[in-house]
């Protein structure tokens, strides 16, 4: 009975704060998984179209679930009776009086996640090429979220969280560097192919001109 009373007391006093902590961790985990899958897919490790389709589905689902978790995280902070951040504290970066810099990074990460995540459904309107370029900036959501968690998070000192962050940050960094290299290699290949085409066309035109004059 005493334990139950203690739990109910904690919930009445710190309920929204516990919700914000839990949803923040869930959001970070989901965004991390989504970014990890996205970077892995970009490297095209497996050419099987079914595997790619499944990976894309999980990538999309985790990203959407992450967006919902971010929204719950923001709502719980807004409803925290101790913090009383107001609308500006939750929606305007660097407006919250507690951990101002780190929470500001979190607000920016939230906006970026919404913008870049939901732009997937507008890629026909904005153009696939532009969308693909913008979608590469999603790594910024992960980096800002990581710094936000480490700077403002209450549970980021726990060994479990640090292990998860380290275990995912290292492969994400490696995959990101690999992707940058792959993009450069692909761009070089495209340029070389274009140069070869131009050279071929020039040679053909020259041969045609020689043939016509002969």
């Amino acid at each position: 009975m005493i334990a139950l009373a203690s739990v109910s007391g904690v919930l009445s006093k710190y309920g929204w704060w516990i919700v914000s902590r839990s949803s923040g961790i869930v959001a970070f985990v989901l965004i991390t998984i989504s970014v990890l899958i996205g970077l892995t897919m970009a490297g095209k490790p497996v050419r099987d179209p079914r595997f790619t389709k499944n990976m894309r589905a999980v990538h999309e689902q985790t990203a959407l679930a992450g967006l919902v978790a971010i929204a719950v995280h923001g709502l719980a902070i807004f409803l925290d009776p101790w913090l009383k951040p107001g609308v500006a504290g939750v929606t305007v970066p660097f407006a919250l009086g507690v951990h101002t810099f780190w929470t500001g990074l979190g607000v920016i990460a939230g906006y970026l996640a919404m913008l870049l995540g939901l732009s997937f459904y507008l890629r026909r309107q904005i153009g696939a090429k532009l969308w693909r370029k913008a979608h590469r900036a999603t790594i910024a959501v992960y980096v800002l979220g990581l710094f936000h968690a480490l700077g403002a998070g209450t549970d980021t000192g726990s060994l479990l969280f640090l292990c998860f962050a380290a275990a995912t940050a290292v492969p994400i960094a490696i995959l990101f560097v690999y992707r940058l290299g792959a993009t450069r290699r692909s761009s070089e290949r495209r340029h070389a192919a274009r140069r070869a085409r131009v050279r071929e066309a020039g040679r053909a035109a020259y041969e045609r001109a020689v043939y016509d004059t002969a």
Binding site: S6, V7, S22, I25, V26, V58, G97, V98, T100, D155
Partner: protein, 117 residues
């Protein structure tokens, strides 16, 4: 191989949320029940607010006896703001009298000679 359903991600996320919620709740209630953990729990729970937080007056919460205690080492101790009181210099100056008192001159009247000789 079938396409994974969104339900799996939703169930997984919700499960993680519920587990974290329960663990954090019990962790807080356990640390609040021990006297040593009370201060730690409160200090961990509520970091000292920055300057902008002081704009709103802090609410006085009713304490349930034997449930929560204020932190032994409060993070944000109210310090009386040091204000220097400067005595305002009186600008009012006593007006100096512009008039001078002039002793009225008394004309000397010629002596009246009376009497018979």
């Amino acid at each position: 191989m079938t396409t994974p359903r969104p339900r799996a991600v939703v169930i997984g996320s919700l499960s993680l949320f519920v587990v974290l919620f329960v663990v954090l709740t019990f962790e807080l209630s356990a640390s609040a029940s021990t006297s040593a953990g009370k201060a730690k729990a409160n200090a961990k729970a509520r970091p000292a607010p920055a300057e902008t937080k002081t704009e709103t007056a802090p609410e006085v919460e009713e304490e349930v006896p034997g449930e929560y205690a204020e932190p032994e080492e409060p993070g944000a101790e109210y310090v009386e703001p040091e204000t220097e009181y400067i005595e305002p210099e009186p600008e009012y100056a006593e007006p100096e009298p512009e008039y001078e008192y002039i002793e009225p001159e008394v004309e000397e009247a010629p002596p009246v000679v009376t009497g018979s000789s």
